[in-house]
Symmetry: C2
Amino acid sequence: MTEYTPPISVSSLTPRLLLGPGPSPVSPSVLEALAHPTLGHLDPQFLALMDDVNRRLREVFGTQNPLTFAVSGTGSAGMQAALTNLLEPGDTAIIGVHGFFGLRMADMARRVGAEVVSVEAEWGGVLDSGQLIDAHRSHPHARVLAVVHAETSTGAHQPLDEVGAHLRESDTLFVVDAVTSLGGVPVDVDRIGVDVCYSGTQKCLGAPPGLAPITFSPDAVQRVSSRVTPCSSWYLDVTLLSEYMGTQRRYHHTASSNLFYGLHEALREMESEGLQARHDRHRQVGVLLQNALASRGFTSFTEPSRRLPQLTAVRLPGGQDEAPLRALLLERHGIEVGGGLGPAKGKVWRIGLMGHGAREASVERLLDAVDDLGIGE
Amino acid sequence: MTEYTPPISVSSLTPRLLLGPGPSPVSPSVLEALAHPTLGHLDPQFLALMDDVNRRLREVFGTQNPLTFAVSGTGSAGMQAALTNLLEPGDTAIIGVHGFFGLRMADMARRVGAEVVSVEAEWGGVLDSGQLIDAHRSHPHARVLAVVHAETSTGAHQPLDEVGAHLRESDTLFVVDAVTSLGGVPVDVDRIGVDVCYSGTQKCLGAPPGLAPITFSPDAVQRVSSRVTPCSSWYLDVTLLSEYMGTQRRYHHTASSNLFYGLHEALREMESEGLQARHDRHRQVGVLLQNALASRGFTSFTEPSRRLPQLTAVRLPGGQDEAPLRALLLERHGIEVGGGLGPAKGKVWRIGLMGHGAREASVERLLDAVDDLGIGE
């Protein structure tokens, strides 16, 4: 790899085609929005913009939840906000683990003192809804049942409907990680019965990283307000955050107007395109890539019937070592793809076609590079 | 106030002159840097840029601490990272409280289970170093002693040297909130003997909000690595963060390249100007404003010998109600200043002259507006 040594300047950085597991390419109009002059976090203009962001987030989440906003941190801060607010020491949390991000949820839940009941599935597959429901029947007083909708580490698309329907009858809150799904495949929070759902801006939403959209159902808000112990994180305390986001406009932290500009513009682009059209685009482009890679001898790491269109995890033809080829792809062709995590380390490429990057031109550029490097069969 | 109703777009937002307690005005070149195409958080170009940011942060903090970086959150996330990593349940924390942000530190410390020993001073004054040292003598096993260097709620400039010298002989870690001081007045972490110091990017550093520079001394790193309980926050766990920032480059979260672009450019501007020249500029412009306001009948909320140049807290002449006049200043003149917090609520304006905004032209525009609105005597 080329070594980059300081002093460097931002303008000297070479742009890349971002086809990894995120961040995804950001459109010129979203980048331009970022550079609009900074506003104060209590400026009435900014508060109106934030309200409009929240309204647009409700649409993409498919929810009427009043408490829907963007946490000032990356997608993992959304995960942290969900679990830290809902769980208290001694609570039981049922966590589905079928990849790296399920493990992360379990880690976070344990750190706040919860007892974690893991329901596991092989990496690349999905969690069995019956097993999740059985785990809930064995632990009916669990505070939360949490799963990852789009496992960024494996490319698997977790079904949610059965578990959502089952949990409607219970006091257990349904938590869904939609970091890689929101904006790429339908999420439908209210229809499914999800209580807390969070995402990141830098995947299928098409904005830069730095904010974590999140939504809390009225039941989840009720749970938070009936906590016995204070939330261990002041920064992510959703009660304090709701006083800033809500009508009180009570100062909490200095929200980054520039990041909100980018998210607002990305959500406007999404509205122009239409959510259904956006999902269709992700699906069509993803299938195009997956077929083209198969014809070149790449094999799916993900269970074939469970593949996400926006994140394709594949083994390289002939068991080639992925890391040096991934480095060449970046250096010679300016294309970023991701390597594997956990048991997939060293074995797979994770190729994202998300947001502004989910287009045929991305697929063509990647395939040309793969052919140029002689990777395919 | 004008009501802004959706639909709005970013390009329709009216820029303001940001003379509140932060965010401060961002220079055109920093705004332009923000809009550079997004890079991946593991791209070697981005990692080199981040290393360069860390090197520049060491200079402005006045430290050789290897573990110096920017947390992916606002200044309050820096405070949260400091206290959440250093404190465990049952630990004692001595916290200086002479304003809103000292109260926030105490709140955060209690939430992670620490016993808080408050040392208090009147809002507008500073903490007595002798009292802080006495509190430490009474609680020699305290894990941390924490103070706010520049109390953003009162404009007071807390002396640090005596407490720093005293704590060098002890195992108690010295934590300093430099959110509003870093880049505006000298901080000198190593000379004073500060163990953990954090700031925000949106004050005297001149970048947009969204990142929190922080530095940990080797003693602080040792303390973190000898914790008995895991850090309650996965997102802010400095051990995990150091594995990403350090030579391992282990994936943790998706750092926002665009925010780092802005911070890098702001730190480059600071280097061109020189740190001493930058401090001088803040001092000169601050004194200019403070004298001009005094001549118009504004009186200092802050103890006169302890005023920060970059944040001026003043009562309005003749006991005028501040809020409606502050709204007029924003609406008619496009200038943002801050109101009071806590006991200063409704009574004071907090006027920031920070970073790119610390210039005579800002003072002139503010005074013209004050005169136009007939606020001064």
